[in-house]
């Protein structure tokens, strides 16, 4: 006769098995590692708020499943980010990791995540190293490949007939990708190419050299506070009228313009999104964010929001069951959601194929903001996809 205790144990095990194999998980754990302190904090906060906005609009769910979002500050430190990722995977047992701003951090964290069989959804950093030969089945970038916006600006200044350019970026993977991307589409001559220290605050020396080199125009990539510093100092040196300045949305975003003010008026910059893009999804998004935060969303907010929309669509498609990685991956690849930037789909390397827009810094009322002025690329894809065997 089978003892009662064994029967109970069998029953309990059976019950457990039933409880863990239903179609939908009870909740989904998402780990968000992002920069919430120090100079990059503004970007991290925007990514987080965008992501949360999408969850809040769905009553705390994504794809109909309750979401447990664990947000941890990486303080823009590589070792820190790696440690957090390990903790999230082992202790918290998250299903998905997202949130990182910086390319050097993403390159350190993504192998840990994908090796554990989990998914990384990048709302920002898209280093070339993950787009080509070493593309990853479980890595998706919902924003851009690092080069994309810079490629757009390379094309734009070429179209506008500038022949002698001075270009500048910080010395880190994202900076190298930026200038590489710019040069891929810029056809004129480069008379100065400068790499500054990441986190540099004063650009007087570089600006003096730039003026002395007498270029037709200047192009720079300095994300976050670095960009605020550079643009203010460029304008104070009286160069805005003398040597036109071009950049990407990263340096002329809504949050940055609040800190730079009228110094940035007239600058043209490229982005994959603009708050005044005319589509219903975008109008609803801008409206909702303004209502919640009392200001116009930045590019980073839109990227955090879309990372959540992507997950929402994929979790819906697999009915909340993430246990089948192949099915979930296929659902992510379909990117079946209304993107706020209009047309959007994934390339086979899991990076976007999308339009790149030109925007101009203008003053509307007494707010310095961006206005959409044209489309530089339609259905643009990155230059590394061909090397990706996926």
């Amino acid at each position: 006769m089978i003892p009662m205790r064994t029967l109970l144990a069998i029953a309990a095990l059976y019950g457990l098995a039933v409880a863990t194999t239903p179609l939908a998980a009870a909740s989904i754990k998402i780990g968000m590692i992002t920069t919430l302190s120090g100079a990059g904090a503004g970007m991290g906060v925007d990514i987080r708020d965008g992501f949360k906005l999408a969850i809040d609009q769905r009553g705390g769910n994504l794809g109909g499943v309750p979401v447990e979002l664990i947000v941890v500050d990486d303080s823009q430190d590589v070792e820190n980010a790696k440690e957090i990722a390990n903790r999230m995977l082992k202790r918290d047992e998250v299903d998905i990791v997202t949130g990182i701003i910086w390319s050097n951090l993403v390159l350190a964290v993504v192998p840990t995540v994908t090796r554990a069989g989990k998914f990384y959804i990048s709302p920002n950093a898209g280093p070339s190293a993950l787009a080509g030969k070493n593309c990853q089945p479980n890595f998706f970038n919902v924003a851009w490949q690092n080069d994309n916006l810079h490629e757009g600006m390379g094309q734009y200044v070429t179209d506008k007939g500038f022949k002698k350019l001075y270009i500048l970026a910080p010395n880190y993977p994202g900076g190298k990708d930026a200038l590489t991307g710019f040069k891929r589409f810029y056809k004129g001559e480069i008379i100065g190419e400068v790499y500054t220290t990441l986190g540099q605050v004063d650009y007087a020396a570089e600006i003096a050299n730039l003026r002395a080199a007498k270029p037709d125009a200047a192009y720079f990539f300095l994300p976050g506070g670095m960009g605020v510093n550079f643009v203010k100092q460029y304008a104070q040196a009286g160069l805005m009228q003398e040597i036109p300045l071009f950049g990407t949305a990263f340096s002329f975003d809504e949050d940055i313009l609040r800190a730079v003010g009228e110094a940035a008026l007239g600058v043209v910059n490229t982005g994959q999104w603009a708050w005044d893009l005319d589509n219903p999804a975008n109008k609803a998004f801008v409206e909702a964010y303004r209502k919640a935060h009392g200001r116009t969303p930045s590019l980073y907010v839109s990227q955090g929001y879309e990372a959540a929309l992507l997950l929402d669509s994929a979790i819906t498609a697999v009915k909340g069951d993430l246990s089948n990685s192949d099915a979930f991956r296929a659902a992510l690849e379909r990117a079946d959601f209304q993107s706020v930037r209009g047309a959007f789909r994934f390339n086979h390397n899991h990076f976007p194929i999308q339009n790149i827009y030109a925007r101009e810094v203008v003053k509307i009322g007494d707010v310095v903001t961006n206005r959409l002025i044209g489309t530089v690329f339609t259905d643009h894809q990155d230059a590394y996809a061909a090397q990706c065997a996926m």
Partner: protein, 307 residues
């Protein structure tokens, strides 16, 4: 490279130097007189910048902003000294580093709670927002000239304070032999608070003056603090004269390095390699300078009064 460009870069170096001096003067005094390693000195710089931006915005006058920043930094410094640092004078340097690092974290969070994580806006006063042609053919930002002038004036004032006031005499005496000053009946505690407050006000002034040039954001104090420590070490711990010379040296070497190293390297290397290596080399130039000074004079250029 033209002579104009060289002169312009010299002005840039001077301007960076005097900003560093405003920070280094306070740090070196606290270090020399109180034997305290204060990592939170950059925090007072940040407080100065934030208060300057807010008060300028409200009052519409940059001067009020600067005065309020100096006052706020002085008060914050005094509070930090009385509440936290006073307990650390007899402890080892490691305890001081840990505690003052804690102060940094505390104030970074506090500033984020009060002002939010996004950078603040502060522009130079309208009359100084243009350029002046001090060097023929080179329009130079008027505001940067003002910083140089203010920095040099403060350097003179601090020198006056150290050499010909009673407080200055006590500061010099304290740097030489702290115990003896106490034994002679000077209220050392009060002297320390005064020294710390002076250092804090200088840091607040530096922050307010840097505000219109930079992004005013959480963490802005940490980056500049590293350079400030380099200045203090080069100049000699406890020496205000050393802080001035060290600050100008660091400012000039850093600026020249960034401005001219890539150009020089272009003479021997391909442009891409020169730009890449030049950028990396120039960012270590000041540390090479520090190492060289320390080999030549292990206690810094101006060793302070025996201490």
């Amino acid at each position: 490279m033209t002579a104009q460009l060289f002169l312009e870069q010299t002005l840039n170096g001077l301007q960076q130097g005097v900003t560093l001096f405003l920070l280094a003067a306070g740090l070196t005094l606290v270090f020399g007189v109180m034997h305290l390693i204060n990592l939170a000195h950059g925090t007072l710089y940040m407080v100065g910048a934030y208060v300057a931006a807010t008060v300028t915005q409200v009052s519409g006058n940059f001067l009020w902003g600067v005065l309020a920043a100096v006052a706020a930094a002085g008060l914050t410094g005094t509070a930090i000294e009385v509440i936290a640092l006073r307990r650390l004078y007899d402890r080892g340097h490691l305890d001081q580093v840990l505690a003052t690092f804690g102060v940094i974290l505390f104030f970074n969070e506090l500033v984020k709670i009060l002002w939010g994580p996004q950078a603040l806006f502060l522009s130079p006063p309208a009359i100084l927002s243009g350029t002046v042609e001090v060097i023929p053919g080179v329009p130079y930002p008027a505001y940067r000239l003002l910083i140089i002038a203010v920095g040099l004036a403060v350097a003179l004032a601090v020198r006056q304070l150290i050499t010909s006031t009673r407080t200055g005499m006590l500061i010099r005496a304290g740097a030489t032999d702290r115990e003896m000053v106490g034994a002679l009946g000077v209220a050392v505690n009060r002297l320390f608070t005064r020294v710390f407050a002076i250092g804090a006000m200088l840091a607040g002034l530096a922050g307010a003056m840097a505000g219109p040039l930079l992004a005013i954001e959480v963490g802005m104090g940490e980056h500049i603090l590293i350079l400030t420590f380099v200045v203090v070490i080069i100049g000699g711990i406890g020496s205000v004269r050393g802080a001035l010379v060290g600050a100008l040296l660091v400012g000039l070497v850093d600026t020249y390095g960034r401005a001219f190293l890539p150009v020089v390297l272009r003479g021997v290397l391909s442009p891409t390699a020169a730009d890449g290596i030049g950028g990396s080399l120039s960012s270590i130039a000041i540390y090479v300078l520090m190492a060289a000074v320390l080999i030549w004079r292990p206690r810094g250029l101006f060793q302070a009064y025996g201490g």
